[in-house]
C-alpha cells in the first residue's frame, strides 16, 4: 500500500478504536487540501497528505473548544515538534492527543528544505534524512553589510498582512506585540524596520521548529525561515536547545532564569 492508503487505514483503525472523538487530518478540497476533523463513520476516501497546513495551531483550537475531548492527529515531523513546543507553553495537553506519524517523502522534504522530515515514531512512510537549507548556506556567504542589505531589501516589500504571525503555530499570545502601536504603527506601510520583523524573530527563538508555514503564506516571498533557522542554530549552540526535540527539555528562557540554571 502507498502512504495515502496506509494513512487512511491508520485513521480508520484509530476512529474505530473508540479512543478518540475525531482525527485531524488533511482532506482534498477544491484546488488544494485543507485540515478536517474526521469522525467515526466518515468516508475517508478524500483524506489527503499534501500540501500540509499549520495543523498544531488548529489542534490547539480544537482542544480548547472541547476541554474533555480526546483527539487523533496525522502528524509530520514538524507538526509533532510544533505540538511539543505548544505543550511546553501550556497550550496543548499531549495526553489528549493520539498521533499517527507520517514520514515526509523526499520531494516534500526538498520543498520545505527540511532538516528533520520525520516524526519521533513513524507509522506511515519511510524515513528520509534531512537536508541543509540551501538558502541558509547562501546567507552564510554574505558579509555583515550584505546581510543587512539582504534583509532590508526583503523587509521593504512586506505588506504587513500579518500572515507570518497568523499562521504560526507558535504565535499564541492573546496580546500580540506586533499590534502594539508603540512598535508597529497603524495606517502606514511598510512596517518599521526592524521592529516588526525582529520582534517576531526574537519571539520565535527556542520555539520555531521550521515548519515553513510563514514562508508559504508570505505574499512578498520573504524567506523568513532563514532568519529563524539562524536563531535556532544560535539557541542550540548557546544552550543546547532544539525546539520540539523532547517534551522533557525545558526552554532556555526558563532554565537560564532559574537559580543555578534550573
Amino acid at each position: 500500500m502507498d502512504r495515502l492508503a496506509l494513512t487512511q487505514e491508520a485513521v480508520k483503525q484509530l476512529l474505530e478504536s473508540g479512543e478518540v472523538e475525531g482525527v485531524l487530518a488533511l482532506r482534498a478540497s477544491g484546488p488544494s487540501t485543507v485540515l478536517h476533523l474526521y469522525r467515526p463513520g466518515d468516508d475517508l476516501a478524500d483524506l489527503a497528505l499534501w500540501p500540509k497546513y499549520n495543523a498544531p495551531k488548529i489542534m490547539d483550537l480544537l482542544l480548547q473548544a472541547g476541554p474533555d475531548a480526546r483527539l487523533g492527529m496525522v502528524v509530520r515531523g514538524c507538526e509533532e515538534r510544533g505540538l511539543i513546543e505548544l505543550a511546553k507553553h501550556n497550550q496543548v495537553d499531549l495526553g489528549r492527543i493520539q498521533l499517527i506519524g507520517v514520514a515526509c517523502s523526499a520531494e516534500e522534504r526538498d520543498g520545505c528544505r527540511c532538516a528533520w522530515p520525520y516524526p519521533s515514531r513513524i507509522d506511515v512512510g519511510e524515513k528520509t534524512e534531512g537536508i541543509a537549507d540551501v538558502l541558509v548556506a547562501e546567507h552564510e556567504k554574505l558579509s555583515l553589510e550584505e546581510r543587512a542589505a539582504f534583509w532590508q531589501k526583503h523587509f521593504a516589500r512586506c505588506i504587513k498582512c500579518y500572515a507570518c504571525r497568523t499562521v504560526c503555530p507558535q504565535c499564541f499570545c492573546e496580546v500580540c506585540m506586533l499590534e502594539d502601536k508603540l512598535w508597529v504603527h497603524t495606517g502606514t506601510m511598510t512596517p518599521p524596520f526592524p521592529t516588526y520583523h525582529l520582534i517576531r524573530a526574537y519571539h520565535t527563538v527556542a520555539k520555531c521548529v521550521g515548519c515553513m508555514e510563514c514562508e508559504a503564506a508570505c505574499p512578498a516571498d520573504i524567506p523568513l525561515p532563514v532568519l529563524y533557522a539562524l536563531l535556532r542554530r544560535d539557541a542550540e549552540e548557546l544552550f543546547g536547545y532544539v525546539p520540539g526535540r523532547s517534551v522533557d527539555e525545558l526552554p532556555p528562557l526558563v532554565v537560564e532564569t532559574l537559580p543555578q540554571g534550573g
Binding site: 488544494s32 476533523l37 500540501p51 498582512c161 500572515a163 503564506a217
Partner: protein, 137 residues
C-alpha cells in the same frame, strides 16, 4: 465536535483570492489560505486573513433599516417593506427629476454576473448611465 473547512472566495475586493472558512460546531471561527489556488497561491492580505471576523460580529446588520424622513432615526424593517420603499422612491424620483437623478453603486465584492445585472437594470430599466463602483472611490 465538528470541524470542517469551506472553500470560498474572499469577499473583500475583486482579486478573487481563494480561502477556507473554518467552521467549528456550526460557527465560523477562522480563515485558512487555500494552497495551490490558481490566483492567490496560498497567500492572502490582512483583510483576507480576517474574512471570518465580520460573519458573527455583534455590529453586523442582520435586518434592513429604513430612515423614514431626512434627519430621522433608522428603524428596523422587513425585506419586503424595504424593497417596496426603495422601488416606490426610485419611481417617484424618476418621475419628478428624470432617470439621471438616480445613480447606481456596485461593488468589486460582487460577482461579474451581479455587476452585469446592476448595469443592465440601470441602463435598460431605469434609463441612466450613472453606474459606478467602490473600487473607484
Amino acid at each position: 465536535m465538528e470541524y470542517r473547512n469551506v472553500l470560498t472566495t474572499c469577499a473583500y475586493c475583486g482579486c478573487g483570492c481563494g480561502l477556507y472558512l473554518e467552521v467549528l460546531d456550526g460557527k465560523v471561527v477562522g480563515t485558512l489560505a487555500a494552497k495551490n489556488h490558481a490566483i492567490s497561491e496560498g497567500k492572502l492580505c490582512v483583510k483576507g486573513w480576517n474574512s471570518h471576523a465580520y460573519i458573527h460580529h455583534a455590529d453586523r446588520l442582520s435586518t434592513p433599516q429604513i430612515r423614514d424622513r431626512r434627519g430621522g432615526e433608522l428603524r428596523e424593517a422587513t425585506w419586503d417593506e424595504a424593497l417596496d420603499f426603495v422601488a416606490r422612491r426610485l419611481n417617484e424620483i424618476k418621475a419628478e427629476s428624470g432617470p439621471d437623478a438616480i445613480g447606481f453603486m456596485t461593488s468589486a465584492k460582487c460577482t461579474n454576473e451581479e455587476n452585469y445585472l446592476v448595469q443592465k437594470w440601470a441602463r435598460a430599466v431605469v434609463g441612466t448611465n450613472n453606474v459606478d463602483h467602490c473600487a473607484r472611490l
